[in-house]
Amino acid sequence: MESVLSPAASSTAPRRRKRFQSWKWAPYIFISPFVIIFAIFGAFPLIFSATLSFAQWDPAAGFGAIKWIQLDNYKFVLTDRWFWKSLGNTVYIALASGLPQHLVAIPFAAFLSTLLRGRNIVLGAYFLPFITSSVAISLIFSSLFSKDFGAINAILMSLHDHLPLIGQLLPDHKVDWLQNTEMVKPTVSFVVFWRYVGWNTVLYLAAMQTIPEDLYEAATLDGASITRQFWHITLPMIRPMMFFAVSLTLINNLQLFEEPFILLGDNGGTGQAAMTTAMYMYRTAFYFSDFGTACAISWVMFVIIAVLSYGNNRLFKLAGGED
């Protein structure tokens, strides 16, 4: 009897020990979708691009063709005049579209916050460009900015002819918005401004709606006019949102790609006048198949954005009196 039982007993014991204990694994299984997706689409490209920025690699030749060249890619990028030209274009468009975004969005949000009726309709109308496909936007603006048949030239010339006094300040000829090297950057900047001004308005309006009404009432009793209330109450109270919104603009504008790419093509228009750094990086990788240099450009841009974001952070803290 014993001899029959003992092998069975000895075989169940280790089996029980090895049994899958689901409660121990459950937390890892639940967080695994994020970890797997992040590892594949977040961590791997990050690490791979950092690695590749120190190498020369032709993807067609496979992984075995990776050749380590230390800092050569960075040296090349930092001495490449096309990189600096693209960076100049990027900074120009970032400032020309970014600054007005905030200078318009803040007072506009303040105006909307006073509206009792129709606020959401107006806000929706201004927010619409943000959720519209950039391809659709760029196609419509290509048509509007067309030299011979565009609505903008037609309106400007009509105003020049019919508007007294200031009409003379407007051009009397058709402007080549998308071909003239002087006009390309302002045109792209305007499209970017138009697209994101609604988004920033929503951010600022949300911040303004959290300001307690009694602060304005106290300021009214203290003798503050509407303008002074805006200056002394609204602006300081939305400072954290300003920091957030300006940081987002900074990051997005320095990575600008879609609008100039679709409006002007992959070379950034005549004389590469609106070729941004992101476009240059794209061209370096996919036209010149120089992935190592493209990765180096992206990391240089990362450093520039990080430094500017830090500067922005310090600036806001100093302006508001660091707590």
């Binding site: 009432e217 203290d222 002394h232």
Partner: protein, 363 residues
């Protein structure tokens, strides 16, 4: 000359029924008047109308004799302390207090002196460089008052300023406010729904109900001689006991009252004028005694609360569902829950109201 005159004041929003109508009130110079009433009675709206934060639909508002209906809030010579304090979070305490003076164009040194003086009065000089976030509730309250003092207004307006404080701090700030009023001697209008604040702070109390002024007078007068069941019930805790009674005739100035459960009461006095057949008897808990069951109105004890300094006995009178409270001395032997006890009503301190709630004058 009154410091503040409200004459036939009306407030309506759009075409809706008025929330305040035909309100008249005179507040004397240096007087401390407390507006009390339940939520939604219009007391805060009235205060905001005085401040200029709400338009006045009809009537006249006079501040020191000058019509102020159309004056900008900052030109009315008033200062207001808000329930939430409404301190500017991005400014220091000193900047908060000096903001109005800064806007008026006063030079920096004069502002600093004025802020310093107010801070001394409120004992917050050591807090002047801090931001509101770094202050406790009581300190914020002081700063809010300081901001009002700095402007040297003709009238101070307080909108439930202590309601965000805990109980002990509220008592402390109440004493501080009374001291401040004594020292400054400025007219103060104070809105609260806390009857203890109203009773202790006000020279006079104005009781509001549904947009109308029910009664105005010194606290003790309102407590002892309320003109309506609303005022009688609103002031005092626990509230006045009300009993629906029927008159059973009056003999030689002694009114006989019939209560539920076939009980009767010898009231001892009679109302002046015609005698309604149905009345409401009002008696405060401190004017009721527990006696042996056979010696008074019969009641069943529902609950006994010992508050340390007093005992509250909640009972149900025979034939009545309404709760009837009795205040007893802390060391008295209290009845037990379920006991049937006798209740003696001190008629000399009792009040009679007609069924519309109006108090009857007693002979």
């Amino acid at each position: 000359m009154a410091s503040l005159s409200l004459r036939n004041i009306k407030k309506a929003y759009g075409n809706n029924a008025p929330v305040i109508e035909g309100l008249n009130l005179e507040v004397g110079k240096g007087e401390f008047v407390v507006f009390v009433g339940p939520s939604g009675c219009g007391k805060s709206t009235l205060l905001r109308m005085i401040a200029g934060l709400e338009d006045i639909t009809g009537g006249d508002l006079l501040i020191e004799g000058e019509r102020a209906n159309e004056l900008h809030p900052s030109e009315r010579g008033i200062a207001m302390v808000f329930q939430s304090y409404a301190l500017y979070p991005h400014m220091t305490v000193g900047e908060n207090m000096g903001f109005a003076l800064r806007l008026s164009g006063m030079d920096k040194r004069a502002i600093k002196e004025a802020v310093g003086r107010a801070a001394e009065v409120l004992r917050i000089t050591h807090l002047l460089d801090r931001k509101p976030a770094a202050l406790s509730g009581g300190q914020r309250q002081r700063v809010a008052i300081g901001r009002a003092i700095v402007r040297q207004p003709k009238v101070f307006l307080f909108d439930e300023p202590l309601s965000n404080l805990d109980a002990s701090l509220r008592v402390q700030m109440r004493i501080e406010l009374a001291r401040l009023h004594r020292e400054l001697g400025t007219t103060m209008v104070y809105v609260t729904h806390d009857q203890v604040e109203a009773m202790t702070l006000g020279d006079r109390i104005a009781v509001f109900n549904a947009g109308k002024l029910e009664q105005v007078g010194p606290p003790i007068q309102l407590y002892r001689e309320p003109r309506s069941t609303f005022v009688a019930g609103f002031l005092g805790s626990p509230k006045m006991n009300f009993l629906d009674v029927e008159t059973a005739g009056a003999v030689a100035g002694n009114l006989q009252l019939k209560l539920g459960g076939n009980q009767s009461l010898d009231f001892g006095r009679t109302p002046v004028g015609t005698l309604p057949s149905q009345l409401t008897l009002g008696i405060r808990p401190e004017h009721v005694r527990v006696v042996p069951a056979a010696a008074g109105l019969q009641a069943r004890v529902d609950m006994v609360e010992n508050l340390g300094d007093t005992q509250l006995v909640h009972t149900a009178l025979a034939g009545s569902e309404a709760s009837f409270s009795i205040r007893m001395a802390p060391d008295a032997i209290s009845p037990r829950v379920g006991d049937v006890v006798g209740i003696h009503i001190d008629s000399a301190n009792a009040l009679l109201f007609d069924r519309t709630g109006r108090a009857l004058e007693l002979a």
